[in-house]
Symmetry: C2
DNA sequence: GTGAAAGCGCTAACAT
DNA sequence: ATGTTAGCGCTTTCAC
């Protein structure tokens, strides 16, 4: 076992109290005592025991990231930023996967194992705001993505309506008129897809383009396979789209793969655009036009939010935190 | 605060001991008592306090994944499998990023914040086996990737030499004779790239093909950008390769992007192959031939290894755990 | 400026 | 089969 306070105290000939003071930087210690204690501390390679601190003080230094799956590129990139930001604040990030399953989301919210975390950053798919709020004296929670829970829960988002409208407008400006939208998720409580659809429809309406329900394609998940399936469906149905706007880069990469395999030239015959700006998109052939959310800012906003809730006092009311985004125009729409 | 054992005991009219027995499933409790206590437990929504358990028993239920970056698709997919496997064993996975930096690797090994974990799964880039072994009474450690540390440290690997040889042989069998290898990393302590190079050279030698140092390209990192840069260098130097074997899918996707952008037809003019079988590769245009390591098996092997070290007794000597792989032949080499 | 000691919630050794 | 209690390592209140 590693040395504890009592052992250090004995060796340094002082009390546990004094050693604790030195370790925690408490000011009222004689400089000479401090120095001697510090030397013993170093000699013995003292490390504060996290469990004891946690038991005593109530803080574990752990923040949980609760997401459908870490293997998804978007969540992977986000997790990277969150881990970095957490580190800066003296926290450590822990990952819990839900697979988008309601029971698992509930379990993790209630803290089956997460009980020992100081806060949660969660991207819910199956639980609605009402469910999410039902958690007696639990750790602070901040949500990622649209939730229709303004004022009830903290959540970090980009302006999905505006972003989808901008991207659709870009497609229209480059001459496309038959623009499909792939990625509706009517089965999810998470309102992100719905907002993107709204932005898409707004841009069409603004341009005076007709709105064709046959061009709005739902998907089961946001994986490449789902985008591929949607594209195959579009082609099989003989629907003559000249652009597809996918609600995630993964969907777009799947669609791009199928379109190219079908002999379509992108972007000449068909423009393809995505959402998220994950690294895969940049190196696709052709590289993918997409909406780029400011991911480091999302990570910062989420952790700032938790930090505020953990600070003494109740902090501000739960809010919708909007983070910047920009359009990243690349070869798949503007070759 | 949530209810504790004492409060439950009072309400149920028994001692803490009995409640503890019920919670932990200790057999010697009268069925009738057990039932009554369980009811109170449920009523009060009792949750064991992780910090107290940890302080008392020494187990935190946490396993740290220490890797260069979680945003990399390979590590993302692996993290997903590790999180699932950890969950099955009652562990929670925590992520620590090193950026491949030696000081940071050292820090995390010594447990700056990781001190409270039951074990570490690490992919070292900067520290050598000697450094890795220098850690007094720390948590069990299992390494991912080649380490030249047989018998000294537990590590989980695939047979990189064989895998690289098989892939190179496949390229030769499809008629390629000028095969470049992209991904040498002479600056890393991690011997993975070196073994893949060995396998590549063996296959060339077996086929009686000359070995050309100009075709062996080192890279700084394993990102798509590095693969792209290497491919650009190859083209700029006017080197007439008919295939490139990249030591990661990320490198291959970068190379593919540049080759295609240069007007090369893949695989007709140039075959491109990768390593890792990450999902991006499957949906690339054309889809990427690659070596597919059994990632779920890697996750299982790593955690089995930690579990053995944590079990009472010292367990078997540190060993090299070899996991299966197979060749995944796709359009980028065999269109 | 420093020491003594209580107590966070749990497990397990020791009693009965 | 169940009750009592020491003690894990730390922080902090209360004394001096």
């Amino acid at each position: 076992m590693t040395a504890n306070l009592r052992q250090v105290a004995e060796r340094a000939g002082v009390s546990v109290r004094t050693v604790s003071n030195v370790v925690s930087g408490f000011p009222l210690v004689a400089p000479q005592t401090r120095e001697r204690v510090q030397r013993v501390l170093d000699e013995m390679g003292y490390r504060p025991n996290a469990a004891a601190r946690h038991l005593r003080g109530g803080r574990s230094g752990l923040v949980a990231l609760v997401i459908p799956e870490i293997a998804s590129p978007y969540f992977g990139e986000l997790a990277g930023h969150l881990a970095d930001e957490a580190e800066k604040r003296g926290w450590t990030l822990l990952v819990q996967q839900t697979g988008g399953d309601a029971r698992r989301e509930r379990e993790l919210l209630d803290g089956v194992r997460g009980q020992a975390v100081d806060g949660l950053v969660m991207s819910p798919w199956a639980l609605c705001p009402t469910d999410l709020r039902r958690r007696p004296d639990a750790a602070p929670l901040v949500l990622l993505g649209e939730q229709d829970a303004d004022g009830l829960l903290d959540h970090v988002v980009i302006d999905n309506v505006a972003a989808a409208r901008e991207l659709t407008r870009h497609l229209i400006e480059t001459g496309r008129t038959r623009i499909a939208a792939i990625g509706l998720q009517p089965h999810l409580t998470n309102g992100t897809a719905a907002r993107r659809l709204t932005g898409y429809r707004q841009a069409l309406a603004e341009a005076g383009l007709p709105h064709d329900p046959a061009l709005e394609i739902p998907v089961a998940q946001l994986h490449r396979a789902d985008g591929a399936a949607a594209m195959r469906g579009l082609l099989a149905a003989g629907i003559d789209a000249d652009a597809v706007f996918c609600f995630s880069d993964q969907l777009a990469l799947g669609a791009l793969h199928v379109a190219t395999g079908h002999g379509l030239r992108v972007p000449a015959d068909l423009a393809v655009a995505g959402f998220d700006d994950v690294e895969d998109g940049r190196y696709a052939n052709p590289s993918l036009t997409t909406v780029s959310p400011d991911k480091p800012a999302i990570a910062r906003a989420a952790l700032d939010c938790l930090a505020e809730r953990l600070a003494p006092g109740t902090g501000p009311a739960p809010a919708r935190h909007i983070v910047a985004h920009h359009l990243e125009i690349r070869g798949s729409t503007a070759g």
